[in-house]
Symmetry: C2
Subunit: 225 residues, 2 copies
């Protein structure tokens, strides 16, 4: 019997968690904002049960803070959070890079190279939004090439927590140029399948990303605390 792809069935809480996650990561729900169960239930036209289930898992992901008897808030994004998360993301990305060097097939490397070229174009056009998207896609493609779903899962979780910060940080030109140069290095190390080097470059790249954010935040004070 041809067992076609399993009919996709999702529970409400799962769907809700995904949508809320997106809204939080994309900044539609601001850090610190109160999450009203009543309002959200009305907005999504669901009852409180599945919504609350979704909130529990988002809390576990660190995107939401639950305070007993006082409801849910979008997790504030403090400088301390960023300082803690970035080194961890760096370590995970470095591992992803190392594994990708071992495991990526040539097609995947070509794909990443293509993304890189498109990102360079976006950089030259000063198209921040497009640059950002492609940047993210490159890191994702590399993580995929590492063929380690557990690694992926951890990376995504932290990346989501931190991605919200980018809306505050309009990267400065010199920083941007540096980031672009680092990406050149990343691509070269990957193409040479030099895992050790790629890992180190990625770690540094993430450390620099943190510095970029930190300087923007400190001058603009756009983040809590």
């Amino acid at each position: 019997m041809s067992t076609d792809s399993p009919i996709p069935r999702r529970s409400l809480h799962d769907e809700l968690a995904e949508r809320l996650r997106n809204q939080i990561v994309e900044g539609a729900l601001e850090p610190g904002a109160k999450i009203s169960e009543k309002d959200l239930c009305a907005a999504f036209e669901v009852s409180r049960t599945p919504l609350r289930e979704a909130l529990k898992v988002l809390a576990r992901e660190g995107l939401v803070v639950l305070t007993p008897h006082r409801g849910a808030h979008v997790a504030p994004l403090t400088v301390a959070d960023l300082e803690q998360a970035f080194p961890v993301i760096g370590a995970l990305e470095a591992l992803a890079g190392e594994l990708a060097c071992e495991r990526a097939n040539d097609g995947e490397i070509r794909e990443i190279s293509a993304l890189h070229k498109r990102m360079e174009t976006a950089y030259k056009a000063r198209d921040r939004k497009r640059y950002f998207r492609l940047n993210q896609q490159i890191h994702e493609a590399m993580a995929r090439a590492a063929r380690n779903p557990v690694l992926d899962q951890m990376r995504e979780m932290l990346a989501g927590r931190v991605a919200r910060a980018r809306y505050y940080a309009n990267i400065s030109m010199p920083r941007w140029e540096q980031a672009m140069m680092e990406h050149e290095e990343i691509l070269m190390a990957l193409e040479a399948r030099d895992g050790g080097r790629l890992g180190q470059v990625l770690k540094d790249h993430l450390a620099h990303k943190l510095e970029t954010l930190r300087s923007v935040i400190e001058s603009e004070g756009a983040v809590d605390e």
Copy 2:
């Protein structure tokens, strides 16, 4: 006003999640086992609502698998899971070690050194249980000394997923001896505050742990798949 320690108030789902997590990690609930909502509700004397909330967060942690309309099962622990998780844990522990070298105060290092000595005693007495406990405590103390709660959280999550495997793996003497030697190295690197070296040793240590598990599993077939 003396605002004494905040009165601890916990929601049921939180308490339930913790207890279930312990039961799963400690193997009281076996990998793959069906989780009957009815039975658990009866056992904990709670209604289904908080229990289901707890199951959702455990699912996000990877300890439980939820299948729509078919209930919850303790997540099976496959060799593939271990192979994926261990390198990630290795990367996280390596980072923890590096940070600990920078940030640990002398007291913390002495504490770890003391744990190490006790572990050595347990090793010489061939007390596997005690050895394992102290081993875990050492890794935890080091993670604490790294002063990075985000890192901690990730580490704990993965460690929990994988800790269940130890009940299957009765480490062989030569492997055990090697592990003990590696721990000597770990302690030396930490005392010398040589972050780079400690990171590398920890990474290797975790890789060897995986090999140990893999060989046991392959000979005994104690894990699914």
